[in-house]
Homo-oligomer: 437 residues x 2
Amino acid sequence: MTQPPVTPFAELQANWPHLSIEERVHGFRKLTRDYREDLFFSLSSADQAELVLTMPEHERRTYLRTLPPDDVADLIQEAGDEEKDGLMALLDDMARTEVRALLAYAEDDAGGLMSPRFARLRPDMTVDEAITYLRLQSRNMETVYYAYVLDAHQRLLGVLSFRDLFTAHGAATVDKVMHRDIVSVQEETDQEEVARLFSTHDLAAIPVVNASGVMRGIVTVDDIVDVVQEEATEDIQKIGGMEALDAPYLDTGFFEMVRKRAGWLSVLFFGEMLTTHAMTHYEDEIARAVVLAVFIPLIISSGGNSGSQASTLVIRAMALGEVRLRDWWKVVRREILSGVVLGGVLGCFGLARVVLWEWFGGSYGPHYFPIGLTVGLSLLCVVMFGTIAGSMLPFILRRLNFDPASASAPFVATLVDVTGLVIYFSIAAYLLRGTLL
Amino acid sequence: MTQPPVTPFAELQANWPHLSIEERVHGFRKLTRDYREDLFFSLSSADQAELVLTMPEHERRTYLRTLPPDDVADLIQEAGDEEKDGLMALLDDMARTEVRALLAYAEDDAGGLMSPRFARLRPDMTVDEAITYLRLQSRNMETVYYAYVLDAHQRLLGVLSFRDLFTAHGAATVDKVMHRDIVSVQEETDQEEVARLFSTHDLAAIPVVNASGVMRGIVTVDDIVDVVQEEATEDIQKIGGMEALDAPYLDTGFFEMVRKRAGWLSVLFFGEMLTTHAMTHYEDEIARAVVLAVFIPLIISSGGNSGSQASTLVIRAMALGEVRLRDWWKVVRREILSGVVLGGVLGCFGLARVVLWEWFGGSYGPHYFPIGLTVGLSLLCVVMFGTIAGSMLPFILRRLNFDPASASAPFVATLVDVTGLVIYFSIAAYLLRGTLL
């Protein structure tokens, strides 16, 4: 538990994300030793790595050895491959073995999040023995919310919260008091799934077991807050139409950021080129009735906006586990209806826009009503198409094992722009044939 | 701690979000009493309220009384005003007083999240006395990660983690062992700020104090996971261009959902109508050079896409506290540079598109190069404008005390569409005067 006072420690900590590396090191050096440690503990793994790499070897060793093994593993991962061996060499033998095991897990799995230091009990201990034992052991444990009861083969038998221990009769044996129905995860469970379990069950820690039930470590809820923030950030950036950054905005290198944006922007650009082909195809119609061109941005953007609403709704509901792949029919039914209502509303606005303009000083000529009808009907159809496409795209992407969050607002808008043009000109061809076209 | 086994309890729990109210009640009734309680504890406050309202009075009383006061307050809030008095009447006197106090706080403040039941110690107790005392008291406490040391006026003096208690010498007094530099929040601290503190300091609980330092309760990290998810969901839905829903997608009433989407969709529609005015203004130019119309969707949507990237990046960085209002100049400098690079790339693509098309079977006539130049230069300027506008809009909204997340992808796209048209036709007027125009 890190507990900063008001100043200058607190000030340095609050300003940390906004400082340059030189300012960070300078501020860090000026703190007393205790505050340096407090600050160090409160930093993200990336910031810890950055700071450790500015230190001389004896100091590196001290700071590395104060961290629990899961945090050391994260720090080493952030420091990069070329620093890995040098940093590993500074650890004591036990920690090195633990860290090496942790580094073998994928960063986004339960195994990559877990700490191997948890409170263990034997089933035949009494509650009083357990409390005494935990008092002796707790220096080596990262957290002491729960104690886990293991058999001789290290298989997980049950769990006790400290509240359970405290309220139980001192002479009872642990296996009489423990809970046997345990929420646990496997080492390769994805961190989003782990976060969902924490949220559903309101737990402070979840045990990680391997396929034969042997307990490997615990994931604690304070690590999950960061996971949830990270996953939301990734989804938001993807929804915004780009590759997710891996670091805070101001810490991301300029060229990396531009690369991650330019990639999707170029893909969208080539997609959007299809509108140019579609428009070229309708060049004659535009030449004959320039008035048609005037409504193009209004109509296609309305489709894009309604599609963006639908896709973000579905992406988020999927990420939270509220909507599953097999719910697609429930969603599509709902979205068709939404599309009809929303399209109906905008369609009426569109028709009214043309008709009222004509009445109050108009410029659309004698065929203003069929023009208004074309605009209104196109809005209805394009908004309906946008809503359905936007809501289905995340399902299709997930079905194909892509991230549904890639159904970004710009991606859906591009898809709808092309189709919207075809819808608009088809309706125009039908309604205005013999008059304007 | 709720710990479900595999089936049928686990199945019901996993399917819960996808069941109708009748199926939920039916499934709940079929469980044994213990599992009913476990399930009840694992539900969201809204689902708990829904279930409680289907119960007869004696059962309502039982379930309400098993919940800690902060959860009762949430349940009553979800049940709605007309049920409030009836539910409050079922509580015992102590709980009713606590719940009434909690209901006075805004839902999004630290006060609305906190539990008034926490572990209290006096500074002059010994560690052994403290452990014994906590063993007796822990039945009434929601969580036992930390014990808080209060003076005679209930002012917060210090904090002890259970690990501290366990590792300290039994005869030492509490005030020698406790930490005095405490991270605490006020009752009216916003929940986003509370979440940031949890994330920065890796805490399991944060104490809530009033202005004179009197301790009112604790906020625990398991509640914060839900807060973080909720806040991210709100931001994602706003970024998608709609009002945030207050409930899961499939639980939100159809008309409420459509209303929340139609509102923004209509605002965007009226904003986008400005493109119609702009296009009408350039009708003569389009009539003279229909080829100009062909590139309109490509150019304006590229501006919208780059704007959407920039605004979502800044919105998220603001929500995470990485970027503050006073950082606007740092951001704008970065985004101008990004805009130049991204616009340069797309501008080259645009120029190449026109020139290559002409070379390989072309249709743009003798003035194809100035046309290509117009398209390329417009892309450069529109993407630059989109990037700058998208990154600055969240700052402007926050400065005016609006939610920066309202700078949604569709909102930025609409803004850029109108300006993009003006930029495009101005460049065309300049470069094509005397040839096509």
